[in-house]
């Protein structure tokens, strides 16, 4: 499961992510990282069994944690199944089935949103 972590600026100095990994032993994958002067934002992928523990440890340290249920919004009615999204996606979220219908493996999405620009029909959108 993907978690969105928001680090307030005063937490920047501490290696919290490393601490959580060491404490839980969870194999966390960092999908995206955005750090600036005001705050840091990470999207991490956590194995299902560890999600609750990892989330509560981050919360204890003062990090805001949100579970990301929806990673990308796909307007299926608008989609014409061209597949323009397929080759630009770094994590192969989009696939064709045997009758050339596009389907999504949303759990792979890292919210880079390159597909949003690439979709000619405007059928893909980022989610907050």
């Amino acid at each position: 499961m993907k978690l969105l972590l928001r680090f307030p600026s005063y937490l920047h100095e501490e290696p919290y992510t490393a601490e959580v990994i060491l404490e839980t032993g969870a194999k966390i994958n960092i999908d995206r990282a955005n750090v600036d002067a005001v705050r840091g934002e990470l999207i991490i992928d956590v194995p299902r069994d560890n999600v609750e523990r990892v989330a509560s440890l981050f919360r204890e340290k003062g990090v805001e944690v949100r579970k990301l249920m929806k990673l990308i919004a796909w307007d299926e009615a608008r989609c014409i199944h061209c597949g323009a999204c397929i080759s630009v996606c770094p994590t192969s979220v989009f696939k064709f089935d045997t009758s050339w219908n596009v389907y999504l493996e949303e759990e792979k999405c890292i919210r880079c949103e390159v597909c949003v620009k690439a979709c000619p029909l405007g059928a893909l959108a980022g989610v907050e």
Binding site: H81, A84, I86, S87, V88, W100, V102, P120
Partner: protein
């Protein structure tokens, strides 16, 4: 002759009595390999083709009817998208690629066409210059498709037989009419329906010609004649087609935006091919593996883009092709799912006796080619205006030496070279100030290593685009050994524009 010969009249009789046998083009190769061309020609009467792709060269002729008092529209906008009015008073042509005045590439002609077909209200604004017969100078109203006298789709160039696919060798993403092209050959985009392509199933235009009845966006349409840029000699045939917008359905046409490029219209177009003889049966057996196209490098912004490799539609449709030893993912821009739907819809219309085949009144030319534009004056090239006296500096030089050189030469950019005189970096006056402030010593620590360069024969227009896209003000000109032979700066370009007025519009600065 043992050849099976059928006539279009015979096929139409079978459509009439319900005994017609229709198959979609993607099934023909199997049928022909099973029954042979002669057997297939006996078994199958009609092969249906289909394509559903972005076709910018599309649009609609509209007649609004007269207002009271009447106006001769000099300019007209539909939902803020301008249509061409250089025809009679209340006639206009709305092009699919026209952009909205206030929304830019987010909305445009293609979307207006889709909204019209969807029955949505459209805001009309028009201005006129006022004449004795058309005194009115302004009008604002709201219309729907039903309110128009005529709305006739007339697409100057549709149904490209095949299309070159696109990739990008440069180190930045390109946003093109071939979609998003990631840097360093990281993806390939392609277009065209492959085995379902109408013109690839009748490459010699034996049955498709002026007057052929076709499926156009859910309605019956007709082939007007050859399309613009019709180039059958190189298997790039095209069609000009027309149909009644009022009969079209929103499921078979869609407005769309190619990010960074503009607006277009996805057109669903299908053509029935009468299997009159075994020769035609054989041609409709074409497979994706038989259709070859090229992968072009859109990183090179010239008319003749370099061919990276040749590729078949079968390879493109596999999802991955190889470029320079690496596996590169591919994306279609046209929809095979919808192309099949077009062919299937056409099939069922024929089977239900709602769609009859027509004899073309004229064959399409088979010998035209697509010529480049004739230009009277050549564009200025890099070699026409570059600075030839360029001082360079060694990568082993100190910051102080670089500062001295900048001061002496009064230039803001100094190319940095290696021992064998190859370009390895560039330093600017700004870099030197930063270096002093941060107490760096050697040039190699602070120079920019990724240098954007130009070639001697490159048009200045492209150099200006580079200056703009990378937000830089100078670039070195190098030869094939990476030796610096000149420099192009935005200052020099400005001076040139001052001197030669006629270039000004081209240079846009």
């Amino acid at each position: 002759m043992a050849e099976t010969e059928k006539s279009i009249e015979e096929i139409n009789e079978r459509i009439e009595d319900g005994s017609v046998r229709v198959v979609t083009a993607d099934r023909m190769s199997e049928i022909v390999s099973e029954l042979g061309a002669e057997g297939a020609a006996k078994e199958v009467d009609v092969v249906t083709t289909g394509t559903f792709g972005p076709m910018c060269s599309s649009g609609v002729f509209i007649n609004f009817g007269h207002a009271d008092p009447p106006i001769k529209m000099q300019r007209v906008w539909l939902n803020d998208v301008e249509a061409y009015t250089g025809i009679a008073a209340v006639d206009a042509y709305l092009g699919a690629a026209q952009l909205s005045e206030d929304k830019g590439t987010e909305y445009g002609g293609g979307y207006v066409i889709e909204d019209l077909v969807a029955g949505k209200p459209i805001e009309i604004k028009a201005i006129g210059y006022g004449t004795d017969c058309y005194p009115r100078k302004e009008i604002e109203t709201t219309i729907t498709l039903d309110d128009l006298n005529q709305a006739v789709m007339l697409n100057p160039r549709n149904a490209y037989q095949r299309y070159a696919s696109a990739t990008n060798s440069t180190d930045r993403a390109l946003y093109t009419y071939m979609g998003t092209l990631l840097p360093n050959y990281r993806n390939v985009n392609y277009s065209g329906a492959g085995t379902l392509s109408p013109l690839f199933n009748d490459p010699d235009f034996e049955t498709i010609g002026a007057g052929t009845r076709i499926f156009l966006c859910g309605a019956k349409g007709y082939v007007v004649g050859m399309g613009t840029q019709h180039d059958p000699v190189n298997s790039f045939g095209t069609l000009m087609v027309a149909g009644n917008l009022k009969e079209m359905s929103v499921g078979f046409l869609k407005g769309a935006t190619f990010y960074g490029y503009g607006v277009t219209l996805y057109v669903g177009l299908g053509i029935p091919i009468p299997v009159l003889n075994e020769g035609i049966a054989k041609k409709t057996a074409i497979r994706d593996a038989d259709i070859v196209t090229e992968v072009l490098d859109y990183g090179v912004c010239r008319r003749e883009r370099p061919v990276v490799r040749e590729v078949t539609y079968e390879e493109l449709k596999s999802g991955v092709i190889e470029i320079e030893g690496k596996e590169v993912p591919t994306s279609p821009l046209s929809s095979f799912y919808m192309a099949k739907k077009v062919a299937e819809e056409l099939t069922s219309k024929i089977e239900r006796g709602e769609f009859f085949l027509s004899q073309p009144v004229e064959r399409l030319p088979g010998d035209t080619v697509f010529k480049p534009m004739k230009e009277k004056k050549g564009l200025p090239l890099v070699k026409d205006m570059m600075i030839r006296e360029v001082k360079t500096i060694s990568e082993r030089a100190s910051i102080a030496e670089a500062a001295k050189l900048i001061m002496e030469t009064q230039s803001t950019h100094i190319p940095v070279i290696s021992g064998d005189e190859k370009l390895v970096g560039i330093v600017t006056a700004w870099d030197i100030s930063t270096a002093v402030a941060k107490r760096h010593e050697g040039l190699a620590e602070i120079m920019t290593r990724k240098v954007i360069t130009a070639d001697l024969e490159e048009p200045l227009e492209l150099v200006i685009r580079k200056l703009e896209s990378y937000n830089i003000s100078a670039l070195p000109v190098t030869d094939e050994t990476k030796k610096v032979i000149g420099m192009v700066t935005s200052d020099e370009i400005s001076k040139l524009v001052g001197k030669r007025k006629r270039w000004q519009w081209k240079l846009r600065i």
